[in-house]
Structures are given as structure tokens and as C-alpha cells.
């Protein structure tokens, strides 16, 4: 077994005639949180979708624990310890919280165990299981998305802009939940973010994506903020 949880090499993928990812090289160590940053349209979300098997790989390799997994469908990846918190239309707004959680489980009998796990980080969701998801606030919805990704106790979490449009207090709760998950179970997290402060606070390492490639990266430390800000061109 390799030390890396996830190894991406030369990954190419895209839509139609367009290659969004143009040779992504990235490795995520076991138990590590990596914040992936970059401006809009640079391919961060596309990378997560490709990793989840939602977009076909056009070139390069993806390895999970050293095993090649490119081309596997989402159901296989979810069953093999990958959790995913998507950004676009991430919830069934007209269904209850319970049904949203159920849909991420293969069998309903797994629900009690999953709920137990949810209660560790966001217990408020358990009191409101029958509430329609669309009536939750933006921050609450984000916590539900994260709970759903974490409840099957994955070894690798792919998280897409979980702090977007969320008030600072909720961002802190999310940060705490992620750290707890890392400390308790040694989960590895690929965190796609635009919120610089949050990302550098939670992550162990950072990387910046530009035009479909990883252009820079390093350990999260005091000086990182300015380096990343320069990349975001402000």
C-alpha cells in the first residue's frame, strides 16, 4: 500500500469539445486535508466530478490506495469509501431531510447507524428529520450536504465549496466537524474552496488550480495567505 490515499496523474477531462482539465497532477496523503483553490471556471468542480465518475476521464490516471479507479461509476466509489458533497443542486429541495439522507444509502436498514454518525457533528438535523429540505436556511443546507457525505464513514471526502454563502459562525461549525472527522477517523479530505480564510484554517496543505492545471501548492502556514491571494489576482 502506498502512503497516498488519492493519486491523480495527468488527468484530462471536459465537456463537448472542451478539455477543462488539462493534465492535473495531485496527490492526497492518508489523513490529510488538502485545500484546492482557484478562480471560477478553472476546473475545480470538474475535477471533483471526474473523480466521482460523473464525467468520463479522457486521459491520465486516478488511483485510490494505489488501485486504478478511473472509469468506475459513482455507486462503486461510494461503496468503496468515497464521500462526496457536491456544489450544484446538491439537495432534493422538495423532499424531507430524512429522505435526502435515505437516498444516499443503499438500504434503508443502514439509516439508524448513519443517523448516529450525523448526530456527532450536526445533531440539530435529527430533530428536524421530517422537515422539507427547501425550508432550511442556506447554512443548514450546507451542513446537511456535509452530513450526508460523512454519514457512511468514508475514508476520502470530496467537498465542493461547502462554505459558499454561509455565515461565519456556521463556517466555524463546519471547520470543527471536518477537523473532528480527521482526528477521530483519519479521513482524507480534498476541499475545493473559494473562502481563503476557512480553507487555510482547516487544511494541512493548499494547491491552486489555473486553466485546468495545478500551478502551485504548499503547506498551510502564515505566509500562505499572501501567496494564494496573489494567485487569485487581487
Amino acid at each position: 500500500m502506498t502512503e497516498n490515499k488519492l493519486t491523480i496523474d495527468g488527468l484530462v477531462s471536459g465537456y463537448g469539445a472542451l478539455d477543462i482539465l488539462q493534465g492535473v497532477v495531485l496527490a492526497l496523503k492518508r489523513g490529510e486535508i488538502l485545500a484546492l483553490m482557484g478562480r471560477n471556471g478553472m476546473g475545480k468542480t470538474t475535477l471533483l466530478k471526474t473523480l466521482m465518475g460523473l464525467i468520463r476521464t479522457r486521459g491520465g490516471t486516478i488511483a485510490l490506495d494505489g488501485r486504478p479507479v478511473a472509469g468506475k461509476p459513482p455507486s462503486w466509489l461510494l461503496a468503496n469509501g468515497v464521500g462526496y458533497a457536491p456544489q450544484e443542486l446538491p439537495l432534493f429541495q422538495d423532499l424531507s431531510i430524512r429522505d435526502n439522507l435515505r437516498l444516499a444509502l443503499r438500504h434503508d436498514r443502514d439509516l439508524p447507524r448513519a443517523l448516529e454518525h450525523v448526530s456527532c457533528s450536526f445533531p440539530f438535523l435529527l430533530d428536524r428529520l421530517d422537515q422539507k429540505t427547501g425550508t432550511l436556511s442556506g447554512g443548514e443546507q450546507k451542513m446537511l450536504i456535509l452530513s450526508r457525505a460523512m454519514m457512511c464513514e468514508p475514508d476520502l471526502l470530496l467537498i465542493d465549496e461547502i462554505s459558499e454563502g454561509v455565515q461565519p459562525s456556521v463556517v466555524q461549525r463546519i471547520a470543527a466537524a471536518l477537523r473532528a472527522e480527521q482526528e477521530r477517523r483519519g479521513v482524507s479530505i480534498l476541499l475545493v474552496e473559494q473562502n481563503l480564510a476557512f480553507a487555510l484554517d482547516v487544511a494541512d496543505r493548499w494547491a491552486v488550480m489555473k486553466l485546468g492545471r495545478i500551478v502551485d501548492g504548499g503547506a498551510c502556514e502564515a505566509a500562505s495567505r499572501q501567496t494564494v491571494l496573489n494567485h487569485l489576482s487581487i
Binding site: A17, I20, N40, P168, N195, L211, L229, S233, I234
Partner: protein, 590 residues
């Protein structure tokens, strides 16, 4: 290359090698139909007469479905209307030259009126292709039931028979139907290859872009449907005379689907294929159905399913398609059009608020843009920028507040009407016509300024000089005859920009024109935008993420954040403000 003298006269264009072959084919066909009666027996003559009338119907279905993308089950209704108009006149008024003339006129006018009504029902702002198909199903059913309900007047279920018809004889009916078919096929062939024909395909492939080029897409579709309703009516007139019987089935939905089968098997999107499909299937059917009536239909059914699944292009798919036959058109330059530089605002937005249910996307937006101004809109993801552009260019979006363009309220105006007020919109993902060549796209962008010809392809496309600059800077001028589908991402973005500028709008709306472009391409687009606004007086509203780019090209920036316009000012003041810094680094998520 831009100011060359006019050359390549129009007739030459019809006579490409492909064209010569088809003209020869047409002449051969004419000879065959004129001489055919000399060596065909009477049964065959009668069957082929009917088949050729059906072939005309197949071509009308093909023009609607194969070229204009309107899947119609209802052409039979117009055919039936024409046939019944004829039979009713001849039955109840009687024969005689003037009555035949009356029947002919009615079998043209009635179906056209009906088709115009159906077109009005089927095509409206935001109507879907499925809805048009739905309506086309209902029309023949209603008509059939009306015939049933007509009692002895319409002959009810047994139809009308024994009315006086034109006494031409089987041979001459054969010749008449043959000549009518060949003329109609030739006409269709010329039209689909003309600029107007490309317009139909453009509307099929990308109705949104077509509307944003100012093309009144619904009107074009209604006109097409009306014209083809008239053709179907004339075919019905021929049928009622040659067949000497009309029955409710010919107006029905079953017959309408038959036409689709002919078209699909022959090959949609070609003229010859559907015509041959109709003749072949109907003729073989008549020969074989006596011996094995159900088996024949079974075979046709199976063939049809297999074709739809595996060969959407039909039997014509076996014939290799020739590409690039048309000569490359030349580009001509229009003098630069200096926009008026009065101080009155061109665009004036006041109190705009847009929400989806409880979810407020935009709130309290006020903005004025004057001629010659380039205003950049920045803000993080989800700030409502793209929604903002849409509300500026589509008056049918329900908003609160007002959007005035040159003093006129856009409320209620669909995109093509807003375009007519002088707005051009470039989409975030380049919206061009995938199946067309670069030259065709550019020609289409000029459609509202220069009426497209029904007969030919323009040999020369005149474009504003600013467009020619874009083309030569990006190298697109060397790819005029190349299909858009083969262009790179950057080339498409440039082409769409060129198309928008070619419309000569007074206000250009651009949604991230540089996303995914290389550094060199960005610089180039930046230069073009500066020239358009600073030198030529166009106004532009630009959505952009790249603050470096914004800094280079614009003097004024507005910042959208969580649906509100939080800053509006000169570039440096905005870019260096704490607010923008905090928004972009994620601190200002309140």
C-alpha cells in the same frame, strides 16, 4: 482581402458539380414522367401517380422535420383539407372550369389558413418542440372527427366519391403529378441551399442564439408551416382529382405518421431521400400488399424502428455526404458606424429586483450606462451576474423595477424585440451554430440587416470593419469555410463576439468573454473591446472574473455581491477597496 470587387455571380453557384448532377437528374426525371405513360400499364400509372403526390407530402414533412426541426404528425390535415375542399366544391357545386379554378384556389387558401392557425398555436415565446408535435397530433384528429360529424355533406366515414373531376386521363394525371413533384423538389432543393434555408437550420440548431441575433424565429416557423400547408393543400387537390375519391383517413393522424415513416426511411434532411422513400414504399406496398397485406406493414414497421435507432439519416445515409462544395464567400467591409455620443444614458436600470419564489437573486439594482462606456461587473460566484444580463436582454423575465433602453421600457419584449432596440448579447459558453461554417454564422448575424435570399447563397458578406478586425486578428478569416464544430474554444468565443458585433448593436452585453482563453486571446479580445467602446462609441456591459483584465480595459467597475450592487466607481478605487478584497478572500460572507 476585404475590399475586392464583386465577383462570382449568383447563377454560377447553382452550378457546382453536385448541382449539375442534380439538374441532370431532374431533367431525366422530367423525361421519365413525360414518357412513362407510353410503356407503363394503367395500374402502375395510377399507383405511381398517387406515390408521386405522396412524395410531395414527404418533402413537406422533411422540410419541417429534417430542416426546421419541427416533428409534425399533422401534414395530413392540410392534405385532407385541400382534398376535401376540392371534393366538396365538385360534389355540391358541380364541375366546370370555373369550379375547378375555385376548388384549386380553396385547396390552397383553406389549408394555408389552417396551417397559419396551427403555426400560431404551436410557436410562441418559450414554446417547446414537443408542444408543436403535440398540436400536430391533435389537428388531424379534430379534422377527421369533423369530417365524420359532417354527415352526408362530407360523406362521413365513407367519404366522397363520384364527383366530377378534371378529364385528363390517367396518363396526363401521371404527367401532372410527376411535373408537380419535380418542380416542388427542385424548388425545395434550391431553397434549402439558399441563405434562407440556412436560416431554418440555424433556428433548429440553436433557437436561443437565433432569437438573440434578432431573428423572429416563431414568425419564420409559422411562415414555413403556412407555405407548406399550401403545398399540402395543392397535393390534396391533385389527389382528389386523380383518385376521384376522398375518405376521412387521408386527413388522419395515421396518414400523417406514414409520411414520417417515408421521410425517416428515405433520409431526413435530404430532398431526394424522402421523395424516393415515399414512392418506393407506396409503390412496393401497392404491389405486395395484395399478396401479404400485414406482413408488408410489419416489415416497414421493423425497418422504421431499426432506422430510427441505428441510422437516423435513413437510406440517404448510405450516400456519402459531400462537404465544402460551396465556394468560400468573400468578405466586404461596411464603413465604421460611429455611434451617437449624446450624454443621455443608453441603458437605465432602476430598482431591479428578481426573485425565484423566496429566493432573491437581485435586489435594488440601479445602473446607467452611456454610449462609449465599458462597464465591468464583478463579483463572486452566485452574486447574480448572469441573471442580471439575462434580465437586461429578455423583457419577458418577470422582474420588479424598470429597464430602459434608449428610453424605451423592455418589459414584455422577447429577446428578438430587445435586440431590435440595439442590444447584442454574448453568452458565457460560446453560443454559435455547430453544424454551420464560420461564414454561414457570420451571414446569419447580418440577417436582420440584409434579408436573406430564398434562391442563393450570398457570394459576398459585408461586415462592419470592427468585425473584420476580429476575424483577421484571430485568424478566423482563414477558416471561413470550416465547420464551427472543429473550432477551438477560443475561436468559438471570438466567432460569437464577431457575430454579436456584426449585428451593430448599440449596447453589447458580454458574459465572461475570456473564460478559458489563453493570455494572447484575452489581450486580443481586450483590444477589440477598447476599440469598440472608446473609438466607435459602442456601450458595453462586461461580466468578468479576471480583475487584471478588467483593470486593463475598463474605466468603471460595479461590484455585485449577494444580489446587491455594492460598489460603482472607477477601476482603481474599486479594485483596491477593502470591500472587494474581503469579498474575494471570503471574509465578507456576512
Amino acid at each position: 482581402m476585404t475590399d475586392q470587387a464583386q465577383s462570382t455571380p449568383a447563377p454560377q453557384q447553382l452550378l457546382t458539380r453536385h448541382g449539375t448532377g442534380l439538374i441532370a437528374l431532374g431533367v431525366l426525371g422530367l423525361v421519365l414522367v413525360l414518357l412513362g405513360p407510353l410503356f407503363l400499364d394503367r395500374f402502375t400509372l395510377n399507383v405511381l401517380t398517387r406515390s408521386m403526390i405522396y412524395a410531395m407530402m414527404a418533402i413537406t414533412v422533411d422540410l419541417l422535420w429534417g430542416y426546421a426541426g419541427i416533428l409534425t404528425f399533422g401534414q395530413s390535415a392540410f392534405f385532407g383539407a385541400g382534398a376535401y375542399a376540392t371534393a366538396l366544391i365538385l360534389t355540391h357545386v358541380g364541375g366546370g372550369a370555373q369550379n375547378f379554378a375555385l376548388a384549386l384556389v380553396l385547396s390552397l387558401v383553406l389549408p394555408m389558413g389552417l396551417a397559419a392557425l396551427v403555426g400560431w398555436l404551436s410557436f410562441y415565446h418559450k414554446s417547446t418542440p414537443l408542444y408543436a408535435s403535440v398540436i400536430s397530433l391533435v389537428v388531424p384528429i379534430v379534422l377527421t372527427q369533423a369530417i365524420f360529424a359532417g354527415g352526408s355533406f362530407t360523406g362521413s366515414s365513407s367519404g366522397l366519391v363520384g364527383y366530377p373531376t378534371m378529364k385528363l386521363g390517367a396518363a396526363n394525371y401521371f404527367r401532372l403529378a410527376g411535373v408537380a413533384l419535380i418542380l416542388f423538389a427542385a424548388l425545395s432543393w434550391v431553397i434549402v441551399r439558399s441563405d434562407a434555408g440556412r436560416l431554418l437550420v440555424a433556428i433548429r440548431d440553436n433557437p436561443l442564439r437565433a432569437a438573440y441575433l434578432g431573428i423572429r424565429t416563431q414568425r419564420v416557423q409559422i411562415l414555413l408551416m403556412t407555405a407548406l400547408g399550401g403545398v399540402a393543400g395543392i397535393a390534396g387537390f391533385l389527389y382528389a382529382n386523380a383518385g376521384r375519391i376522398v375518405a376521412p383517413e387521408i386527413a388522419g393522424f395515421g396518414f400523417g405518421t406514414q409520411m414520417i415513416v417515408w421521410t425517416a426511411l428515405g433520409g431526413r434532411g435530404t430532398i431526394l431521400g424522402p421523395a424516393m422513400g415515399a414512392i418506393g414504399i407506396d409503390y412496393l406496398g401497392a404491389q405486395l400488399s395484395g399478396a401479404m397485406p400485414y406482413l408488408w406493414q410489419l416489415i416497414i414497421g421493423i425497418l422504421f424502428v431499426v432506422m430510427i435507432l441505428f441510422m437516423p439519416r435513413g437510406l440517404a445515409g448510405f450516400i456519402p455526404r459531400r462537404r465544402g462544395g460551396a465556394p468560400v464567400p468573400q468578405l466586404g467591409a461596411l464603413p465604421d458606424h460611429m455611434q451617437q455620443r449624446d450624454s443621455a444614458p443608453l441603458l437605465s436600470v432602476s430598482g431591479m429586483r428578481k426573485s425565484y419564489g423566496d429566493f432573491v437573486v437581485l435586489d435594488g439594482i440601479d445602473l446607467e450606462v452611456r454610449p462609449g462606456e465599458l462597464v465591468s461587473v464583478v463579483g463572486p460566484n452566485g452574486a447574480g451576474k448572469t441573471t442580471f444580463l439575462r434580465c437586461l436582454s429578455d423583457g419577458t423575465e418577470t422582474i420588479e423595477g424598470r429597464v430602459l433602453l434608449s428610453g424605451q421600457d423592455i418589459a414584455g419584449r422577447p429577446p428578438e424585440a430587445v435586440v431590435a432596440l440595439g442590444v447584442g448579447r454574448k453568452f458565457q459558453v460560446a453560443s454559435v451554430f455547430e453544424t454551420m461554417t464560420v461564414a454561414e454564422c457570420l451571414r446569419l448575424a447580418r440577417v436582420t440587416q440584409e434579408r436573406p435570399s430564398l434562391w442563393r447563397r450570398a457570394a459576398r458578406i459585408t461586415l462592419p470593419r470592427a468585425v473584420l478586425d476580429i476575424l483577421s486578428l484571430t485568424g478566423l478569416d482563414g477558416k471561413l469555410s470550416e465547420p464551427v464544430s472543429g473550432l477551438s474554444h477560443g475561436m468559438r468565443q471570438s466567432l460569437e463576439l464577431a457575430m454579436v458585433v456584426a449585428m451593430q448593436p448599440r449596447l453589447i452585453l458580454l458574459d465572461e468573454p475570456t473564460a478559458g482563453l489563453t493570455k494572447a486571446e484575452r489581450t486580443l479580445i481586450g483590444e477589440v473591446l477598447i476599440r469598440l467602446t472608446r473609438d466607435l462609441g459602442y456601450a458595453a456591459v462586461l461580466i468578468e472574473h479576471d480583475l487584471d483584465f478588467v483593470r486593463q480595459i475598463s474605466k468603471r467597475i460595479v461590484v455585485l455581491h449577494q444580489g446587491r450592487l455594492v460598489m460603482d466607481g472607477p477601476v482603481d478605487a474599486v479594485v483596491n477597496s477593502d470591500l472587494v478584497r474581503s469579498i474575494y478572500s471570503g471574509v465578507a460572507h456576512d
